[in-house]
């Protein structure tokens, strides 16, 4: 179906997108790369010095960075665990014959559509408030000691918020994958004498393993750059207990005006995201060829 005309038209029509995305991807990134080799501070009157790799060494050995990296990994892995395990559980539940399933599904999906700033502030002020938050009422009724969430357990608090936001996503994806499982497989398994637990591990889990992989990879990419929730609840604190790499870069760039250091941090963030992205691309690529 290709003629010279359609091929030429095709190239012209795709050009704007390619140009835009190429510029968007390369331009700023290249400039970040360039900045990351400099000593460049907007507040600092001194001249811009070329530091080369030194900036990276400084950044990577900076205890702030190590802490931020640790926080990032804790946040990502905890949220992954909660959202995926929870997501599997919720998806399994919703795959059953439940009355009013449509309404229930809407309720479970809803948190994903709430903007991060609202999620964070609602959790911080309405639920976790140490004086009148809803959670306080629950812990008091159960005669448990009341946690002062953001003061004593800042990281956990942030993890809870982010997990709440992403659990619906995992549930929805996994539910979709579950629903593609043949009913007949379940019936065959029952005839073969498989109980619920073996059925889950030998049949269900392998069937949704691809979806789980996709969920993990996509969540990882987005979780590495959690920002708004931290900004509006803890601003990275107390101290830097909840500063992840994204927030660290933000702090250095827009609060400390350390262009050089922030750029180095940004590159590190990009590298981390790319690691997950490479794996995700392979999964998607296989799907594209299909």
């Amino acid at each position: 179906m290709a003629t010279q005309q359609t091929v030429t038209a095709g190239r012209i029509l795709v050009a704007p997108s390619v140009i835009l995305l190429f510029a968007w991807m390369l331009g700023p990134l290249a400039r970040t790369l360039y900045f990351s080799t400099l000593h460049y501070n907007l507040l600092d009157g001194s001249a811009i010095r070329y530091l080369g790799f030194q900036n990276y060494l400084d950044f990577l050995s900076d205890p702030n960075f190590i802490d931020a990296l640790e926080n990032t990994l804790v946040l990502v892995f905890s949220t992954l665990f909660i959202s995926v395990v929870g997501g599997i559980f919720v998806a399994l539940l919703m795959d059953q014959q439940v009355i009013g399933l449509n309404l229930l599904r809407l309720m479970v999906i809803a948190p994903f559509f709430v903007m991060p700033t609202v999620s964070a502030l609602v959790w911080k002020n309405l639920l976790m408030n140490p004086e009148s938050g809803f959670f306080l009422w629950i812990t008091k009724s159960l005669h448990l000691p009341a946690p002062v969430w953001f003061t004593n357990w800042p990281m956990l608090s942030v993890i809870l918020i982010v997990s709440w936001e992403w659990l619906p996503f995992a549930s929805l994806i996994l539910l979709t994958a579950l629903q593609s499982l043949d009913l007949e497989q379940k019936e065959a398994a029952q005839l073969d004498g498989a109980g619920a637990i073996p059925y889950f591990f030998y049949i269900v889990l392998p069937h949704i393993s691809r979806a789980i992989t996709v969920v993990i990879l996509i969540e990882t990419i987005f979780l590495l750059s959690v920002f708004a929730e931290i900004l509006v609840t803890t601003s990275g604190g107390p101290g830097d207990a909840t500063t992840n790499i994204a927030f660290l870069v933000y702090k250095q760039a827009l609060l400390d005006f350390d262009v050089g250091g922030a750029s180095a941090g940004g590159i590190v963030a990009v590298v981390l995201a790319n690691i997950a992205a490479i794996f995700l691309m392979r999964v998607i690529g296989k799907n594209l060829e299909a």
Partner: protein, 332 residues
């Protein structure tokens, strides 16, 4: 399900499912409830469920007092505007990839492009070296590098279509912090900070890969024979896209727009960092409640409910597209 389950099991499952659903939904429910309480009731401990003096005063306060209308307006304009522009760019691109794909790159052309790329890089490097210190001004090295990239861009365009698509998707995976610094500095230098155009541009760029991708999947489902018939009927390319392709792909386009608007509305990185008060959308407005004075929970609830209500509705309508779009088709 053909298998009978015991009544006990069914009740158990239902109770458990609804309990979990309720727990997950609770924060949203609580927010909506609180928005109708007075501040005192909102702050009351133990939390009040019943003997509450329900009121609309918070909504009035938010809508009249703060600059809410401006923020809402910004959210609407940015979400719709950025994505409509994105759509106009994406439809031709998706057409190209679905109906005029590159299956096997032209080897002769590729070789010529390699030569051109090499030449461009050498030339650009030479110029940058020769102009001395002027090379540090981005207004000077920018255009030079941009022109040198033309062969590279053309090379990208002429690769296998699935590869080009994957590359486009990969641009979405770059974390914002990676380019926060140069973007911020450029915006500052170009007076784009706190402008709807500036933030809108960022939102459009973030969504472009997803829009192209989703349109591509929908376009692939349209039989190419119908487009060929249109060509035989004398339709120019523009006519073909406007009169035949777009009407047939309307459901797909609507689904894509739904998802794109939701993603832009909730975007909370560029909207927070590139705006202050003129172009700030609702994400930033709510963020301002993180440093409040006095009692504010009911007002926060009202503002939040207003901010999330439209998207909750849109989101409920777009679940299927969500799976398709956000997993990039890897899960059907």
């Amino acid at each position: 399900m053909a298998v009978r389950q015991s009544i006990g099991r069914r009740i158990g499952v239902n109770v458990l499912a609804w309990a979990i659903g309720f727990i997950i939904f609770f924060p949203i429910l609580w927010t909506i409830l609180t928005s109708f309480k007075t501040e005192l009731d909102a702050f009351a401990f133990p939390p009040k469920f019943f003997s509450v003096h329900w009121t609309l005063e918070n909504y009035k306060g938010v809508l009249d007092g703060s600059n809410y209308p401006l923020f809402a307006y910004n959210s609407i304009v940015l979400s719709i505007g950025a994505n409509v522009v994105g759509l106009l760019i994406a439809i031709p691109a998706a057409w190209s990839m679905a109906f005029a794909p590159t299956v096997v790159p032209d080897r002769a052309l590729t070789r010529k492009l390699y030569a051109a790329m090499l030449g461009a890089i050498v030339l650009a490097a030479a110029i940058l070296y020769l102009i001395g210190d002027a090379r540090y001004d981005w207004r000077i090295y920018g255009p030079i590098v941009a022109i040198a990239c033309i062969p590279i861009v053309y090379w990208v365009m002429t690769r296998r279509t699935p590869d080009v698509l994957m590359w486009m998707l990969s641009t979405k995976m770059m974390p914002g912090v990676g380019v926060l610094v140069p973007i911020f500095l450029w915006f500052r230098d170009l007076n784009l900070l706190d402008t709807r155009f500036g933030v809108g541009l960022m939102l459009m760029l973030m969504n472009l890969p997803i829009i192209i991708w989703m349109l591509y999947t929908y376009f692939k489902e349209i039989p190419v024979g119908i487009l060929e018939a249109a060509r035989m009927d004398g339709a120019s390319l523009m006519n073909e896209i406007v009169h035949v392709l777009t009407p047939m792909a309307t459901p797909g386009i609507a689904s894509t727009m739904l998802l794109a608007v939701i993603l832009s509305w909730n975007e909370a990185f560029w909207t927070l960092n590139l705006t202050t008060h003129n172009a700030a959308p609702l994400t930033a407005f709510i963020a301002s409640y993180s440093a409040p004075e006095g009692l504010f929970w009911a007002k926060l609830s009202a503002a939040s409910t207003l901010a999330i209500a439209p998207i909750l509705v849109l989101g409920w309508l777009s679940q299927k597209q969500l799976v398709r779009g956000l997993t990039f088709g890897a899960v059907k």
